[in-house]
Each structure stands twice: as structure tokens, then as C-alpha cells.
């Protein structure tokens, strides 16, 4: 479904990604594992158009979306839940969620989706009228996830789902992601902790200093503790 070919990207003055090849198939859960600062976020940003790649191609269902604007990419079904959540701070929880469903659906469909997200995160319903900026870290993450789920995503890209969260919250978050995966959505998750993603992953890529150094089925790679140890420290 998603195909990335020879992607090169970076920021003013420095190249971060040096030619990434990656693919995600329908219904698959793909994990990009790598230590901090090796280009996981940059990869997701380049794929969803927040950063324009210097070379390479991003294909969605065979269509070249490399130079598309982020909103067009999102409308096409690649929905990115970024690091740091990026909520709309002066909007209520409900409004944040509704914004997730900006593209496409009618109001009735939106409320149906809202119902589904509330099922997944019942807690969000109670806080519906609260401003997003008043939420705690874990609550923010859940809201960000929920907002992503409001969209008509084909593939959800999640950047470091557990970054900066307490262990208990982390567990909750991954449990919810599991449910999402079970509903049949494709996932591309960037993470630095192999343990968290064990049950989610079908395939794993290992990213080191801007290059993918290994890839393979999750069962195989994630069991190789020595390998993981050497990459992730």
C-alpha cells in the first residue's frame, strides 16, 4: 500500500535520511525501530509531507504523493500522529476530535466515529468540554490517538507512542493501539523500545543514523535479543 523508495531528507545544512526503502502492506503493522536522533521522526515527516524530501519517492497505492501537501496526503488516507501530540490547545477535547474528521464525512458519520473513539477511550467522553491545553501528558496522547482515529485513515503513522509517559499510561496506550490494529487498520509505528511493540508488529525495520540496516519479520528480529541490544543499547 505504502512504498518508499530511496528517500533522502534533512534540514538546512544537514542530511538526516540517506536513501530509505520501505513498504507497508494492507492490514500490516510495521515498526521502525531505532535509537533517538537517528531519523525516525524525520522519516515519518518526510512521508507525510511535513518535510519535503530531497530525493526519492513516496507512493500510496501506486500513486506518487512525494510532492503533495500534508493536507492532501492526509486526505488520501495517510494519517500521521506526530511526536509531541500537537493538539489544538484552545479547543475542547470534543472539538479536537471533530477536527480529526475534518475531511469527508457528514455530521452524522462524524458522531458515529466519535462514538467509536469514546468506546476506545471512554475517558475522553467525560472530558469532552475541557480545553486541550489543560490535559496531562497521558491524556494528551490519548486525545492525539483518538483524533487520528477520527479520520478516514488507511494507514496510521504513529511517532513514539510512549514518549515521556509513565509506565502505566504507556501500557494503556499500547493496549489501545492493539485494539486499533485488530480493527484492521494498517500501522507504521516509529519506536525505540522493542518490548512495547512486540505484539503489534508484523515486520520490523531497524534504523541507524539515517539508514535502514536490517529488516525482517517481527518474530525473527524481535527475538534476536543480542541484535536489538547492539542497536538500541
Amino acid at each position: 500500500m505504502l512504498e518508499v523508495k530511496g528517500l533522502v531528507a534533512g534540514y538546512a545544512g544537514s542530511e538526516v535520511l540517506h536513501g530509505i526503502d520501505l513498504e507497508v502492506n494492507e492490514g500490516e503493522g510495521v515498526i521502525v525501530l531505532g535509537p533517538n536522533g537517528h531519523g525516525k521522526s524525520t522519516l515519518l515527516r518526510a512521508v507525510t509531507g511535513l518535510l519535503s524530501p530531497r530525493a526519492g519517492q513516496v507512493l500510496l497505492d501506486g500513486k506518487d504523493i512525494t510532492r503533495w501537501r500534508p493536507d492532501a496526503i492526509a486526505a488520501a488516507g495517510l494519517v500521521h500522529i506526530p511526536q509531541g501530540d500537537l493538539l489544538f490547545p484552545e479547543m475542547t477535547v470534543t472539538e479536537n476530535l471533530l477536527m480529526g474528521a475534518y475531511h469527508g464525512p457528514t455530521w452524522s458519520e462524524r458522531s458515529a466515529r466519535l462514538g467509536r473513539v469514546y468506546e476506545l477511550f471512554p475517558w475522553l467522553k467525560e472530558r469532552g468540554g475541557q480545553l486541550a491545553r489543560t490535559l496531562s501528558g497521558g491524556e494528551r496522547r490519548m486525545l492525539a490517538l483518538g483524533r487520528g482515529l477520527m479520520s478516514k485513515a488507511k494507514l496510521l503513522l504513529i511517532d513514539e507512542p510512549s514518549l515521556g509517559l509513565a509506565p502505566l499510561t504507556t501500557q494503556q496506550i499500547y493496549a489501545s493501539i492493539h485494539k486499533v490494529k485488530e480493527s484492521g487498520l494498517s500501522l507504521l509505528i516509529a519506536d525505540e523500545n522493542a518490548n512495547h511493540v512486540a505484539g503489534l508488529a508484523d515486520r520490523v525495520y531497524l534504523l541507524e543514523t539515517g539508514s535502514l540496516v536490517r529488516q525482517g519479520p517481527a518474530d525473527e528480529l524481535l527475538r534476536d535479543k543480542a541484535l536489538l541490544e547492539s542497536y538500541l543499547g
Binding site: 509531507g49 500534508p70 493536507d71 492526509a74 494519517v79 484552545e90 479547543m91 471533530l98 475534518y102
Partner: protein, 293 residues
Amino acid sequence: MSTQFVQAVWGGILFGSVYGLMALGLTLVWGAVRLLNLAHGAIFVVGSYVAFFVVSKLNLPILVALPIGVLAAAAFAYLMHLIFIRPVIGKPGFDNSTLIATVGISIAVSAAAILIFNPEYKVIPPIISGNFTLSDVQITKQGLLVIGTSLALFALVYLFLTYTRRGMAIRAVSQQQEAASLMAIPVVRTYGMVIAISGALAGLAGVLLSPFFFLNPNSGFNPMIQALIVTIFGGLGSVRGALVAGFVLGIFESFVEVYYGVAWAQPGVFLLIILMLIVRPNGLFGIGEVRRL
């Protein structure tokens, strides 16, 4: 009630509505696009001249000219967005470039207006004429219309921003542009929409106010400066702030004029603003850098 008091109150409410009407468009654009639109006065002038043209050259009634003027102002603002704003969206230096570009547009518009319509003052007929007096104070019906329109527009804009999908999208874009684009909200098109709405508001203000102030190529300048003051006083990007600040400053100014003389009004307003900025550096409802709209 004394004549002076009635005059001060009436003048204050009228000034306040006028300031608010101009400030609403300015604050909307700042809030959503982060654009200090110094061409707001020029757009005001474009709307007024188009309405003037429709009334005096095409001999159509003012009620026809009003929507045409408003649409022309919106179209002009959108055109400005396409040519001068859109190319720099998201680029570094956006603030500088657009600030200067809007200054350039505003002097170009007034030069064009001189070339087309010559520098003489023009007059646009009021939508409703006539007036009555209330304890010796002249209350014009057009003035009441301006007050009503201004309040209604504030309510409309508020409802639009709070309850509609596009309105919420405008707030989303203004608060977290990156997240908005990840939610498939078309950021650039939303900017264009806000600028066009703001242009329509400026055009409407132009057509409504020209019967009072008359129309010349620079007649948008003073209302814009007043609006800028109001916007800053109320807190840039705050719709509620623009409304409250418009009335606070309008009434303050009116009372100073009536009881202390016009000469003190302007220094008084500046003094008030400096004091306010010391106490609340982000304006009355100013919400700093992140909290907008």
C-alpha cells in the same frame, strides 16, 4: 440626562461599533494567518469605490451596490492572498515580507484610486437616511445600522468560528498549523478563506461608513490605524478582545472629547494603551503566542 452625557454615550457606542467592525477583520487575519494586514484600509477603499461606482455611474440603488462592494473587497483581498501572501506561506521571513507587501499594496491602491477617480472626496448615499434627536443629540439611522451590523457580525463570526466545520478549521489552523494539515485541513485554502472574509468585512465597513466620513483615496488609512490600536488593545487575534476593546476605546474617546476636548482624545488613548501594555503585555484578552482565536 444632560445633552453632553447622551452625546458621549451615543458617540462612544458609535465609535466603538465602527472600530470593532474594522478591527474584526484585522484580528481575524492576524489570529489565523499571522498576517498584520496593513492593506486592510486599502481593501476598505476598494469596497467603497466599487460601491460608489455602482451607485453613481451605473445608477443602481445603494442596496445593490452594497453587496457588490463587499464582494469586490473580498475578491480583491483574495487576489492579494494569491499573489502576495500565498507564495511566502510557511517560508521564513513571512512576517517581514507580508508586512511590507501589504504596505506596498496599500499605497498602490490609493495611487490607483487617484488615477481612476481623482483625489476629490466622494459621497455614497446612506442605506437608510434620516435621523432623530434624543435630548438634543442627533441620532442618525445609518448610525444605528452601523451599530446593529457591527454587533451582528461579531455574533456571526463567533458562531461561525465555534460551531461550523470551516470555522473550527480556522481556529485549528491558527492554533496548530502543522497538526491541522495532518488532519487534512487545507491550510493554504483556509488562509485564503480567512483573508477573503476579512476583506468582505473591510468592504462592508467601507460602504457603511462612507456616508459619514466620505470617500477619498486615503480614507481607509485612519480607520485602519484606529482598528490596529483597538486590535492591539484587545489582544491580537482575539475576536472577543476586538469587540470589548472597540467599545472601551470608543467610549473612552467619546467621553474625553466631550468633557476634556478633542485635543486630549488621541494622547489619552495612547496613554491608556501604554498603561495597558505595561499591565497586560498581550492586550486585554491577549493570549500570548499560542492561544489565538
